[in-house]
């Protein structure tokens, strides 16, 4: 009798532990909260992946492999929220499109995801959406980034991605919490919808305004964030865009990405995001206007140099960051909606569609004249000087915005 007790104990222990472990994995698998197990999306149950942002770097590395896209979008949250991957404006021959942009995406991360996708062998086109803060040398890969997920290692050699990570998430408490949140939040209206194509969008603007207390506070919040953490040079912080030859400069990552693109025969376009004019005022207040212009020059130079080396025509570098009816949209107060922006930094998909219209030459009545210009070494000086003039006009026409922007200068003193 006594001898059998340990046997029964072990059977019971392994049954309880195994049962609970498998139950947890079963729930996680069925809900697939990060969209990485390839499970069906069922409306009202798990169609909207509300928690995918917690594992966005893992999710996108896996999802892009399954999506086998012809076109990829790389960039930061601006490109993720602003540029729809599924849209009739994309030429038929370039679909399917996958949006590989990352929240807080540092340029090095964008480069590694680009290389990863390029190694799939299906990618023929790329939209590289860049923001200047991504080029800050003191920025770094975010928590959750891992080199082990990619199809190529850091030397560009093929590697097998470590898929045990996917298995580990299946058995994780963390995933279970996301699974339960996913199920319970399907019908809410104040959620960010992460689409299977990698793009994301807020489900409902009214709910967004309710939760975020309106567009104007979000403009202020984002400007403050940029002023204090992203753009203004801390003591000892060095914007390496001033030295494109510095081997540690993130510009080298940009160069590497362009070179990979030419090597792989991928047809790329580079775009500078159409953030709101108020965000450029933060740059100005931070004393970074020259850096900002030099950065644009460096992008053009690198693209043209790499095109020469590859013996191919230079990729188009589109600057959407100028002053026009889109980027100077009046900022609404705490209640009203906005047509083109969530906050000063993040534009809406409506604006993203204008970018697509402009680039693909589609006839769209909404596209204002001065929205987007293709830069090259011949026209860039004239372009930058036109932008400077347009800024003067903007300040005159929007005295309230100019006054609020002056606060950032005060903060910089």
């Amino acid at each position: 009798m006594m001898r059998r007790a340990p046997n029964r104990y072990l059977v019971a222990l392994f049954s309880v532990a195994g049962g609970l472990y498998l139950l947890l994995a079963g729930i996680n698998l069925a809900v697939d909260p990060f969209g990485i197990y390839g499970m069906p999306r069922i409306d009202g149950f798990n169609a909207i992946k509300v928690d995918v942002d917690k594992h966005i770097r893992l999710a996108k590395a896996v999802q892009v492999r399954n999506a086998a896209p012809k076109t990829i979008i790389v960039g930061s949250s601006r490109a993720m929220l602003g540029i729809p991957a599924t849209d009739p404006l994309w030429p038929e021959a370039q679909r399917p499109v996958y949006n590989l942009s990352l929240y807080g995406g540092y340029l090095y991360e964008a480069m590694r995801y680009f290389e990863h996708a390029a190694a799939l062998g299906t990618v023929e086109h790329a939209l590289i959406a860049v923001d200047m803060w991504m080029f800050d040398r003191d920025w770094a890969t975010r928590p959750g980034f891992s080199e082990d997920r990619f199809l190529v290692d850091q030397n560009g050699d093929p590697q097998d991605p470590d898929d045990t990570e996917i298995l580990k998430t299946l058995f994780a408490w963390d995933t279970l919490r996301s699974s339960l949140r996913t199920i319970s939040r399907q019908s809410r209206d104040d959620i960010l919808v992460q689409h299977p194509d990698g793009s994301a969008d807020w489900k409902d603007e009214e709910a967004w305004i309710r939760v975020k207390e309106g567009h104007r506070p979000q403009f202020g919040y984002m400007e403050h964030m940029f002023a204090t953490t992203a753009w203004w040079p801390d003591p000892g912080r060095w914007w390496t865009v001033t030295d494109p030859e510095d081997p540690q400069s993130p510009l080298q990552f940009f160069r590497h990405m362009i070179r990979t693109s030419y090597d792989k025969g991928i047809s790329s376009r580079i775009i500078i995001s159409p953030s709101h004019a108020r965000i450029w005022e933060v740059i100005h207040a931070g004393g970074l206007w020259d850096t900002w212009e030099n950065w644009k020059r460096a992008l053009v130079t690198i693209v043209e140099q790499e095109a020469d080396s590859a013996g191919k025509p230079a990729y188009e570098v589109w600057d959407f960051s100028g002053y026009n009816a889109i980027t100077t949209e009046p900022v609404s107060g705490t209640t009203g909606p906005m047509r083109w922006y969530w906050d000063g930094s993040h534009f809406k998909q409506a604006a993203g569609r204008l970018i697509l219209s402009k680039m693909f030459g589609a006839s769209a009545p909404d596209v204002p004249d001065r929205f987007g210009a293709v830069l090259n070494s011949q026209n860039i000086d004239a372009h930058l000087s036109a932008v400077r003039e347009a800024r003067e006009m903007y300040l005159i026409a929007h005295p309230q915005d100019a006054k609020e922007a002056a606060r950032w200068s005060e903060l910089n003193k």
Partner: protein
């Protein structure tokens, strides 16, 4: 390989155990020692294959020297010179890898020698396997040891449950177990006890210690970076770390004891509810027991112990604790930590001397509570020096604990501005309360399982323990839940704290 990793729990451990079962079933028990030795070397080499050669050389050299010394001892010709050579060799090895940079720094500062920054990578577990082998050599010289089989000796040093972070086992307590345990083969009772201890140890590490670390680490990081720490945050960080290191290290030790038990081996226990101690002397009988034992038998007593009057006794105590501190890491903060405990112990012994014969002090609940509070306070403050990377960081926390930055100025007791701390939130206090209740008020796993002799050296306790483990379905269910709770939190694999030492 870490005990709290998937590769260990789901591949390495099952593989070694299945090998053990197969060899036993085939009647090949004599192959169990070579099998476990080989797997222990794999375990060690997983991280740093380079240092495998170092470990093997150390094991072989000590085995040969030990054999010579033991032969001499049996023949009545003490090989003292060889012993000195052996001990010096071991100390030289640990000195080279662990203390070279530290002493070069001191030499540079005092004598301007200009060695500059010397950084030698620390081979894993060197502090542990060095100590075990020094003890072995000394006992060979005393005629108390002398192992003729290199495989058995090799397993004594490298047995993977204890190799990386202890318990520091004594040859006399494990070597004689090997043959009997391995020839008996696996037993379901041993497996049941082993898995229960593993589950409890893993839970203490990943559920409790790792959650406390979330709060403790930023406070120390901030202090080391030159930040100012307010009263509440200093206490939260200090108490969280005090509990973190206990749950981390004792969890690791419980796992080690449980892992060895799967193979029928009983390891000495390393912790016995240390935070229940009502004096520093008692604390050291309950905290890292196998290290205290080693320091007592191979350092304090050879130094003269308490045999030469109270001045020598206190000096010996201080030397032992300072070296014990240095053993934990080559840095001044560890020396200060050891020194503080040395002072605490001297005060404790002095107090015992002064109050001898005061019967009313014993068993008085109020006195016990005061004594416990003083003990836990002293231990916690000493941990600040143990945890901080820099001396300035430690002082910043101590200032915070004393309320110098905000509490005292706000009460008008001292001058200066009241520092507005960023605060630390409420959750940390919940974790501290929960962990304290478990550490101080609940019986420990060795008490709960006492009837089944889970490890060696479990103290006899006359108090009745309301919870008693037995291999019943209810306990199986509880253990199963504890195990799964730990496994599902494994994704953020973190190192056991004692890997550094």
């Amino acid at each position: 390989m870490l005990f709290n990793s998937y590769i260990f729990l789901f591949a390495f451990l099952p593989l070694t155990f299945v090998g053990f079962v197969i060899l036993s079933r085939l009647g090949q028990a004599r192959w169990v020692i070579p099998w476990l030795l080989a797997m222990s070397l794999v375990f060690y080499g997983w991280w740093q294959p380079v240092y495998l050669a170092l470990l093997l050389s150390s094991v072989i050299a000590n085995f040969l020297i030990g054999a010579s010394i033991a032969r001499g001892a049996y023949a009545g010709r003490p090989q003292t010179a060889l012993l000195v050579l052996g001990v010096a060799g071991n100390l030289g090895l640990i000195g080279w890898f662990k203390y070279l940079g530290f002493f070069a720094g001191i030499s540079d500062a005092l004598m301007g020698t200009g060695f500059g920054f010397v950084d030698v990578a620390l081979p894993l577990a060197i502090s542990f396997f060095t100590f075990q082998q020094i003890a072995y050599l000394i006992d060979c010289h005393r005629g108390l040891a002398g192992e003729p089989s290199i495989l058995k000796y090799g397993l004594f040093v490298t047995f993977y449950p204890q190799l990386i972070a202890g318990p520091i086992v004594h040859h006399s307590e494990v070597m004689r177990q090997y043959e009997r345990a391995f020839s008996r083969g696996p037993s379901t009772l041993n497996i049941a006890i082993g898995i229960t201890l593993i589950a409890v140890g893993l839970f203490k590490k990943v559920v409790i210690a790792d959650n406390l670390a979330v709060y403790a680490t930023p406070v120390f990081t901030d202090a080391d970076a030159g930040g100012t720490i307010g009263f509440a945050r200093a206490w939260a960080g200090t108490l969280a770390y005090t509990l973190q290191i206990y749950f981390d290290f004792s969890g690791y030790s419980d796992m080690a004891v449980g892992l060895a038990r799967l193979f029928g081996i009983r390891l000495p226990i390393n912790f016995f509810s240390p935070y229940r101690a009502t004096s520093i002397i008692e604390f050291w009988r309950r905290w890292h027991i196998t290290l205290s034992r080693f320091l007592r038998d191979y350092l304090y007593i050879p130094l003269g112990g308490s045999r030469h009057g109270s001045f020598r006794r206190y000096s010996n105590l201080m030397i032992t604790m300072l070296l014990g501190g240095l053993w934990h890491g080559a840095g001044w903060t560890f020396v200060v930590w050891g020194g503080l405990h040395g002072i605490f112990l001297i005060i404790n012994h002095g107090w015992q001397y002064l109050t001898r014969g005061q019967v009313w002090l014993r068993g008085n609940i109020v006195v016990s509570l005061v004594a416990w509070s003083l003990t836990i306070l002293s231990v916690s403050v000493a941990w600040v020096f143990f945890r901080a990377d820099t001396f300035d960081g430690a002082l910043a926390i101590v200032y915070g604990l004393a309320g110098i930055n905000d509490l005292l100025p706000s009460m008008g007791l001292i001058g200066g501005e009241v520092y507005a701390d960023s605060g630390i939130g409420k959750r940390v206090w919940r974790w501290i309360a929960l962990a304290s209740v478990i550490a101080v008020l609940c019986p420990n796993i060795y008490q709960i399982m006492r009837r089944y002799r889970p490890g060696l050296g479990v103290p006899d306790q006359s108090t009745r323990i309301p919870l008693r483990w037995r291999p019943t379905t209810v306990w199986a269910g509880v253990t199963g839940v504890v195990l799964v709770a730990s496994l599902v939190l494994l994704t953020q694999v973190s190192e056991f704290l004692y890997f550094r030492f």
